[in-house]
Amino acid sequence: MALGSRAASWWARLLSPGPGVVPRGPPAWLAVGLAACRRPYSSGGKEKIDMSTYPVESIRNFSIIAHVDHGKSTLADRLLEITGTIATTDRNKQVLDKLQVERERGITVKAQSASLFYNHKGVKYLLNLIDTPGHVDFNYEVSRSLSACQGVILVVDANEGIQAQTVANFYLAFEAQLAIIPVINKIDLKNADPERVEKQIEKLFDIPVNECIRISAKQGTNIEKVLEKVIEKIPPPSFNTTDPLKALVFDSTFDHYRGVIANIALFGGEIEKGHKIVSAHTKKRYEVNEVGILTPNEQPTDKLYAGQVGYLIAGMKEVTEAQIGDTLFMHKQPVEPLPGFKSAKPMVFAGMYPVDQTEYNNLKSALERLTLNDSSVTVHRDSSLALGAGWRLGFLGLLHMEVFNQRLEQEYNMSVILTAPTVPYKAILSSAKLIKEYGKAEITIINPAQFPDKLSVSEYLEPTVLGTIVTPQEYIGKIIVLCQDRRAVQKDMLYIDEHRVMLKYLFPLNEIVVDFYDALKSLSSGYASFDYEDAGYQAADLIKMDILLNGNPVEELATIIHCDKAYATGKFLCERLKDAIPRQLFEIAIQAAIGKKIIARETLKAYRKNVVAKCYGGDITRRMKLLKRQAEGKKLMRKIGNVEVPRDAFIHVLKRQPDK
């Protein structure tokens, strides 16, 4: 889901266009005396930091969490500056939001972390800023990142106040029992109202007003105070170097030269080059090649100790070998794996096809390269009679899907057809025969073609999410109507101050995957914010709807929908098809049907006259070009019975409407 883009961030101006590209130059604030740009990995020859000089008592592990565009990255920049982190290490930093898509959208997709060194009251502190993805699509990754922390900085915009994502992020931190430092950012803005925001925080999160720090990350106001609070309020990790090695993998990236680089947090023991380690999840054994800290680029160290955060390279070939949430331990010294590990579970599926089938192989290799860095995308080969060979991809959520698509386009220059997203339904089978066939009673349905008949099913299930909406009160009426229209059930409604309301609704996931966010934004003039979290499955009255052209079903247009939505969806699809199919020599009935029952119909009239009026000397060349193009197009048409349907018509109907 698009979360809107924000003004070009500070980073956007400084960072190079994409991964693997040598940066153009040093950051502006480091301009003096900085000439050479080095690749991130070329840190050889540099004196290694002795990590043993940082005992657990002087370590603080924390995250910054915020609603999109509330200033998380800007605050991180200031923290890096004030601690001299960037100035004391390599200059060619591509920290935090380094993907083009992140900079354009103002979101963090791929978390980056950094170790900061800070002297406070004569003590040398090691502050590990563990970045998190900024959206609940990456909820699981956020929770893993947070589990490596003992505290968080909760950033809230002094103008916008608490937003949906602020709430979601707060509860993630709260449930993880982390120390929370509320920070009110952008106090320099004309419309800033920090008092109101402090009251919201008190009301919603039960944090006393006087604990909030008012800052302007942009202008650098009160940043020192934030660092002081981090040291004072966040407890040091309570792990022992003498314990056996226990390391949490909280992120991983793939490097074409060095393989997988796993970001780890040490919950016990120590680790160095040459150690033999084992993954609790895969049980595979590796030898450690390199360890180090992130500053924010990798900087090798001799060792890492309990409580510290850094990276590890150990000959892992694929990111699936370093899954987020996995625990690493010393060979022959197994430990209890850290709780909470689970494999990525796709929540939204969409078909992806090359615009031009000759691009299939290029797209395939682009997909392979992109999934190297994103193991949470599931990829299954698929093919459609209309759209050709392609894939069915599973994503963590809508934003994830969009980001993935955008990265394909921007980083690999691939233009693709992405079909409207669908969600994974389930069916509880009642037919003994089918249960035997599937080997289980509960099956997951991704493709409408696999939809089992009602007669052999005791119950259909659909995925749900708990949605949080924060809005100025004047839009409540419209938003409630929108939510009811989307079959949502209200769970909570709370005034967080005299003007703002927080609504909680249980939504069927498929009701929000297509255009809910756009609808919400447009009816609230952009003021309402939305976020959601997984809420399991619920029973639902699902049916399969077919689309017929002159009585013949069009396989690729069959959909699974809730019976309440059948008429509206059927009508919508028929209308859209009517616009997309060209008139032909005979009348075409476009129908939506459930079983044998027709629920919607549009009629496309036959051509009565289409011959071009003039065709003389000068017109002939132009005419022939057009005719030949039409003849070529005809060869590519999909025939449904005697009806010819151009590929564009399928694209028009199946394609996701881009968010505005």
Partner: protein, 571 residues
């Protein structure tokens, strides 16, 4: 026009003396109405004298109307040595880097006499001179036309004459069967200019006395005096651009004449060209109702002679009318209303005794326009003037491959080119045998006679019409649905099919491409060499015209240099 002239300067030579070709073996008139028997001369060799033996009539037309002069035509020696056409083809085949007219080995007789390829030397063509100027822009017109304060008519005339001469000789034909002065507004030209072009045609080829010579006239420049002048110049048919007989519609179209002027012009034309006056009408104007159209038709029937052309208005991008419709200032005529208008017109005209011999053309008492028919029969035509289009075999260059040609659109650039090298051909694209068949199909099916077996056979002797469309496939399905007919006469649309021809053609083209692709060796033979005509490979060699040439994708080979280079690299 040949490749040699640029370098050799004046060439008055004779490529080997008088050529005697025995054309008895020529299969040109395969199955056509052969009226031959008389040895006919072939009068276009420059400085040479070609005589023919045998019974080939050289007449491409299905219905020979006679009147062709028989005998020997002596070619006019050209100041520039155009005359190596008979030689260059064998020369190319032998891989000579240049066409050396003087070398005996290149003599066509030495190389085996008349090229035996394909349909032989096309004998006739039609001429389409364009007068590019108008007094005013009409709101719907997207033609290549120019409104200028003053026209240097003498210069334009000289260029039209010169280009007509060059291209007719390049076409190397025996006679010009019809001439159609289009535009622009050709009735703005003086009768003297019309006469000069006709004289040039008669001189360069042969213009039989009875050949149809049409002039497009706007009512605002069609006074009886002018029309009489045109008749004296050699015009014998008039096409009057009436467009509408409703004052409001004329204003919408941006015409400069009134209804009364239109009526007066038609009446004057009928007086001077009885039985040979046509009027043009437009329908499907934004806001026009079916009733209004029916009234217009009725009025037109009361006014017209024996020929009517009814055109559905096409809203062309770039015109003022289209812009107004796109902006929503005027309504888009609904599809179904346009169909009703068309079907109404067909019914009304049929009742009045008119034959719809083409999609938009209606005639009674046999007053069909032979010139227009020749387009739809895919015959040869030479376009002369700015932006004019042509389709012919540049036989005079030694090629046997039909080409699509376009002349430089802007009059000033065109004139400079004509003055510097005798013609303003901007683009020439060789048409492959398959492309020729595609055009034949797309054009022929617009007529009520359709594509006849004979005509098809002429373009494709090896792969008859039935072999392409007789078997199971698109054409058969369309026949069964009642849109198309294939029988001993040929392939044609039913009256219902004609109205939806644009839906039939893509299917038929698919079938043609499929069949010609597998069993179409015959069609290759029909067209002579492969697809790459020598000239079509020439580089963009325009000298001072380079800028205008830029941006064109198709090969430009307008200049002599281009042609020369093309030959040098030829197969």
């Amino acid at each position: 026009m040949g490749g040699t002239l640029g370098k050799r300067g004046v060439h008055t030579g004779d490529p080997g003396g008088a050529h005697k070709g025995d054309l008895g073996s020529c299969t040109w008139e395969a199955g056509g109405a052969h009226l031959g028997g008389t040895p006919r001369g072939l009068g276009v060799a420059p400085g040479g004298l070609h005589t023919l033996r045998g019974g080939c009539s050289w007449d491409p037309r299905d219905a020979h109307t006679g009147g062709l002069q028989v005998g020997l035509h002596v070619g006019v020696p050209l100041p520039h040595a155009w005359g190596c056409w008979g030689v260059s083809a064998p020369c190319i085949q032998q891989g000579h880097p240049q066409c050396a007219c003087h070398e005996p080995v290149c003599n066509w007789e030495a190389a085996g006499g008349v090229p035996r390829v394909g349909p032989g030397r096309p004998p006739t063509l039609t001429l389409c001179p364009q007068w590019p100027y108008c007094r005013k822009h009409c709101s719907y017109c997207s033609f290549n036309k120019y409104v200028v304060p003053a026209v240097d008519e003498a210069a334009v005339r000289a260029c039209l004459v010169r280009e007509a001469r060059t291209l007719l000789r390049l076409g190397g034909v025996q006679s010009v069967t019809s001439v159609f002065f289009g535009g622009g507004t050709p009735s703005l030209a003086s009768p003297h200019t019309i006469a000069a072009v006709l004289e040039a045609a008669a001189e360069a080829a042969h213009l039989p006395a009875g050949a149809e010579v049409t002039l497009e006239a706007n009512p605002s420049s069609a006074s009886p005096t002018r029309l009489a002048g045109f008749r004296a110049a050699g015009v014998n048919r008039l096409s009057v651009g009436v467009q509408s007989l409703d004052a409001a519609e004329l204003r919408l179209l941006g015409r400069e004449h009134t209804v009364d002027e239109a009526r007066a012009a038609v009446e004057a034309a009928r007086g001077l060209f009885p039985g040979r006056t046509s009027i043009d009408l437009l329908f499907g104007l934004p806001g026009q109702s079916l009733e209004a159209w029916a009234r217009s038709l009725e009025a037109a029937l009361g006014l017209c002679d024996d020929h009517l052309a009814l055109y559905q208005l096409t809203l062309e991008r770039g015109t003022a009318l289209e812009a107004r419709v796109r902006r929503g200032a005027l309504p888009t005529p609904p599809q179904d209303l346009l169909a009703d208008m068309y079907h109404t017109a067909r019914a009304v005209l049929a009742a009045a005794g008119f034959r719809q011999y083409e999609v938009s053309n209606f005639a009674r008492k046999g007053a069909l326009s032979t010139h227009n028919l020749s387009y739809w029969r895919a015959e040869q035509y030479v376009g002369v003037g700015p932006g004019a289009h042509g389709r012919f075999v540049p036989w005079g260059e030694g090629s046997q491959q039909r080409e699509a040609r376009v002349q430089t659109p802007h009059p000033d650039a065109w004139m400079r080119e004509v003055q510097s090298r005798g013609h303003g051909t901007r683009r020439r694209v060789a048409l492959s045998p398959l492309e020729q068949l595609e055009e034949l199909l797309a054009l022929g099916l617009r007529t009520d006679e359709g594509v006849t077996q004979q005509r098809w056979g002429r373009f494709s002797p090896q792969l008859p019409l039935r072999a392409v469309f007789g078997g199971p496939g698109e054409a058969m399905a369309l026949q069964q649905q009642g849109w198309l007919l294939l029988d001993g006469r040929g392939l044609r649309c039913t009256p219902e099919g004609l109205a939806v021809l644009d839906s039939l053609l893509p299917a038929l083209l698919c079938q043609l491409q499929r069949t010609a692709g597998t069993g179409g060796r015959g069609t290759e033979d029909a067209g002579g060499q492969g697809q790459e005509a020598a000239g079509a490979q020439g580089p963009e060699a325009h000298g001072g015209q380079g800028m205008e040439a830029a941006g064109r994708q198709d090969t430009e080979a307008a200049g002599e240099q281009g042609t020369e280079a093309g030959r040098g690299h030829g197969p």
